[in-house]
Symmetry: C2
DNA sequence: CAGGATCCTAGAGGATACTG
DNA sequence: CAGTATCCTCTAGGATCCTG
């Protein structure tokens, strides 16, 4: 495989596409902590619409980052968890998170001066 | 302006917002290599429109990531370079890039099977 | 409970023309 | 050369209603 970055789709865009949905980082973030049900995520992220929550979960599942488990009970019980592969994103998120926090502080200071 | 909104915005979203424009990662990526003129970037990123190139450059400048230097000559000469602060993003990009490349390969294999 | 199906809007981005 | 200024398109996302 060619590792000449410029000739291929920028891998950074890949990451942004994977996490780029409005609520995806937050969804992912909550799943790092533990497995969650659909209604858990709705409660944890009150502003998200059902439609987008569903759609983002499907996207993340399609990328192999999360696993959707349907328990055949009544009422329905569906659980979402990070896949082993999905966990490989955690260190990436941590690095991003650290920079993002610093950047937010920087902007706060600058608007306070 | 105060920072009353201390809802602890997810720092990951901060990174995504900073790099989230359609061409921002690519612009940034080219500037890592060296200082570039506006026309250089147009040539390096043929698909970008003038409008978006200008707009994204302004955004990146506003975030303090790049520096815009106007040389008072005729014809105009404007150069864009990473700021020292902007360079702090490089390690973050490298981590993202590594994961993104791996993810692209993974998806290639899966669609080839 | 965990969604699917519809309809609708805002804003990111594109196309084109013009200019100091 | 390095942009503005307009106008236009397209889609991510929101709101609402319905169901196995």
């Amino acid at each position: 495989m060619n590792t000449m970055i410029h000739t291929r789709e920028c891998p950074i865009e890949t990451v942004i596409n994977v996490l780029g949905g409005k609520w995806k980082p937050m969804i992912y973030w909550h799943l790092i902590e533990s497995t969650k049900r659909f209604s858990d995520l709705e409660r944890l992220i009150p502003a998200v619409s059902q439609k987008m929550l569903t759609q983002h979960l499907r996207d993340l599942e399609k990328e192999g980052l999360i696993v959707r488990t349907i328990h055949p009970v009544v009422p329905p019980k569906v659980e979402y968890a990070l896949s082993d592969y999905g966990k490989t994103l955690i260190p990436v998120l941590e690095v991003m998170c650290a920079w993002g926090e610093n950047h937010n502080e920087r902007k706060s200071e600058e608007s306070a001066s």
